[in-house]
Symmetry: C2
Subunit: 496 residues, 2 copies
């Protein structure tokens, strides 16, 4: 009995008594597949963790220059050591002094809750160079990675379960999880796999109308560009149209642009929602409320463990900006080393600097290898029976559709699993490849996918794809009673 | 109009449209006083920031050994440099290798969302040494500082506005702010200033009964030991009694023990709530749900900017522990350098290690100086007219009561300020000392305080206290029409 004497009945932290929103949260990236993979690893099986975009965990080496700078900031007493020049280049030493001068008390002191002013200025300068429009450091808040910023914004927007947030499906489950946690309603809009995961505005308008007819106040729209898990790069035309849509429907646009450095084709370079908005001019450029997110975790840096990020607010009234500052203050400040990584990322070595050539060579080598791996993986999947896959134009994921035969769907049902979870578990057990089932991101009814990162080391990639193909062949032999010709007629959407 | 065409009417991120819980949040530690201090600093005034427990910002030097280890972890390529031994001691090199071996991918990789298993094991071993009872690493989660852990636990507990959390008053405003943000009810229980900020159980029982009679389900109790802002160390007897209280009233105990290293007297050493609970034996030791918090930000480390912390869960059912894991996963992982600081803090150099003597000397010097500063500050305040102050037994704050004369209270009212805010603003303008008014922590009606840290450099302390005394004399001359004898009779509680 609650509120009664001790010992009897339920206690406040018993499962039944928890906040229902906490229980509703789903987070597949570290869900059943990840837990099973961790178990298998403990038992000694070699696991290839492609479930999270975590480049260093799969062998990517950190860029040297930023690590030198942050190491010196961590150990400022080295700056007085006569031997420091033997192991650190002069520009790293100078840059460490530059950041320490901005951070009174160094890395051990809380910064302002919005982040160190000097670094927010460097971010603003980066944005201005990128977009061609000035940016105000007072509207840039540094965060412990982009996820924390997204969570704070959703918490600010969502008032109750009738507040709806438009989220692309397939989506990165941060969004569904945070919307559940803060008690809002996710309003899914489907990306079109046949149109290379582009937006369908007819469908989008219907989605909003239908949500409103059910009493949902649609307040915000999320885009992930380049896409996660889908890997597409939105065109300027697409972004323009969606900004108009946000304007007419009175929606805040939350632009998740954390993969802006990760582009693997030349036809559609990354273009920020903010640039497109400002290009459109008034009234829209003065009216549409936009929050854009970025991070040090992705790009060719991949410094996930450092937890550095920022968000930039466009067209938010000062009173709202103040409220966001106040809430950021509750946890005092984002971690300071992560802030310095952010500063370094937006202000890397320049031509003529001692470290420039090495830094450029390292960066180029990572990006070019990612581009080759994107191609290897897409081609590998498309060579497999009952598997079709759009090319990874950007970000760091491949999201193949797996056409599961009816027998496999039945077998999954008998095992009490979603069909894609069933497939991914079998894949994991057979090969050690740890993926995330498409159901963790959302997909159309009866269509199945998996997400894998393109991050395994390039030299391991051929063996991984061979191992995948072998597993898939065996799986399809076991469950695909129909010939491939018949299969063609019973799946709803087929890429030939 | 909402949900209508663009341009007209309110937009989703206009102030009026925000989540009401966000607007309700108050956070005085970085409130009006801090903002005014920041303005004055921009104008060129020298500000002494004693508003936040931020030791490095006030000149405390970082401990050398942990910084050497983390610097090496940031720059693992140094481990192969033939010159590394010239600037790093061998035990720091060995320790860096130890942590890098635990963290596949190093500092750039997300860890498990609960933190690196090897470091959670080191924390468990520390707890066992401290309490004399084994601790399970699976029940220890690493966090980005203690605040993030507290916020997660409150979010897990609070279901709606009828869920009440008992919070000591005066309190650290993290609690009131997070309870507002998650939409719960703060149920204040007053600490007794006359009893050196101890607990009054008669009052506590009345508080709970009264909250329940108003329909509040009281679900958890917060203690801060050593106290913030009040500086008291709870006795074993007090803790025992409050554990019994939690048992009988079916409350989760949230034990904020972040100041456990900061003890400035010998009569009442720190004793953890967990140790007292286990000393009491069954049924209580198996029944009371307890979550304990710790951090690298406080103690003699003061590594606030690194954002390292942990919480340990006692008597929580496995399903709840899983839910907490799931929600921690949404933001992927706490920052990895902060995790390594946590490992180093619970596993510092041992006698015989190369760095032991230096590490011990640095630690001792900081703690002994804090002890002297606690005394200097308390004595300084108690020598001032209309000021009384309990001794800072622990933590890092002084919380003097300021007996504001009626004329000052009137003047504040005319200025549209709370009386203590009025006093603290005048103090700031006159001296540059940036404090937090007692109203930011809660205080009894008609009683006024301010909180200052004891962190300014020891050599600056006499000048700061002289400057404070001079300001206070002038203030009291201006507003205190009554003689001190009369004042004695009109203030409710007087320490002579």
């Amino acid at each position: 009995m609650f509120g009664g004497g001790g010992g009897g009945g339920r206690k406040p932290l018993d499962y039944e008594e928890l906040n229902e929103n906490v229980k509703k949260v789903q987070y597949a990236v570290r869900g059943e597949l990840y837990l099973r993979a961790s178990e298998l690893q403990k038992e000694g099986k070699k696991i290839i963790f492609t479930n999270v975009g975590n480049p260093h965990a799969l062998g990517q080496k950190p860029l040297t220059f930023p690590r030198q700078v942050v190491a010196l900031c961590q150990a400022p007493f080295l700056l007085d050591d006569p031997n420091v020049g033997l192991i650190f280049p002069a520009d790293a030493i100078a840059r460490a002094k530059h950041y320490l001068a901005m951070a009174p008390g160094g890395l051990g002191a809380y910064s302002d809750s919005r982040g160190i002013p000097g670094i927010r200025k460097e971010v603003a300068e980066f944005i201005e160079r990128r977009d061609g429009y000035p940016s105000d450091p007072e509207l840039i808040y540094l965060t412990d990675g982009a996820s924390k910023g997204v969570m704070q914004m959703l918490n600010t927007i969502i008032r109750n379960e009738r507040d709806g947030i438009l989220v692309p499906v397939p989506q990165y489950p941060l969004y569904s999880a945070a919307i559940s946690l803060f008690g809002g309603s996710l309003v899914p809009y489907y990306l079109e796999e046949e149109a290379n995961w582009g937006l369908d505005f007819v469908n989008l308008r219907q989605t909003v109308a239908s949500a409103r007819s059910k009493g949902i106040t649609v307040r915000a729209m999320v885009i992930i560009n380049p896409g996660n898990p889908t890997g597409q790069c939105l065109s300027e035309g697409n972004i323009k149209e969606l900004l108009k849509f946000c304007f007419h429907e009175n929606l805040v646009l939350l632009a998740d642009e954390v993969y802006q450095q990760n582009i693997y084709q030349d036809e559609r370079p990354f273009i920020s929602a903010r640039k497109v908005l400002f290009d459109m001019g008034p009234p829209m450029s003065r009216e549409v409320q936009l929050v854009s997110f970025h991070t040090v975790s992705k790009g060719y840096w991949g410094e996930c463990g450092q937890r550095g990020g920022y968000f930039e607010m466009t067209n938010l009234p000062p009173k709202t900006v103040d409220e966001i500052y106040k809430v950021a203050s509750i946890a005092l400040s984002p971690n300071v080393p992560g802030q310095i990584f952010m500063g370094l990322m937006v202000n890397p070595p320049k031509p003529g600097d001692i470290s420039y050539l090495k830094f450029s060579a390292e960066s180029k080598s990572i990006l070019e290898s990612l581009r080759r791996r994107a191609r290897l993986m897409t081609d590998g999947f498309n060579s497999c029976r009952n598997v079709v896959c759009n090319f990874t134009e950007g970000a760091m994921y491949s999201f193949p559709q797996i056409r599961l035969p009816p027998k496999a769907i039945d077998a999954a049902k008998r095992a009490g699993k979603a069909a894609d979870v069933f497939y991914c578990l079998k894949l994991l057990e057979a090969t050690g490849i740890s993926t995330v089932p498409g159901s963790g991101f959302g997909q159309k009814e009866g269509v199945f996918h998996l997400r894998t990162t393109i991050l395994p080391a390039e030299e391991d990639m051929p063996a991984i794809m061979t191992s995948f193909k072998k597993f898939n062949d065996t799986f399809m032999d076991q469950y695909d009673g129909y010939s491939r010709i018949i299969q063609y007629y019973i799946t709803p959407s087929v890429k030939t």
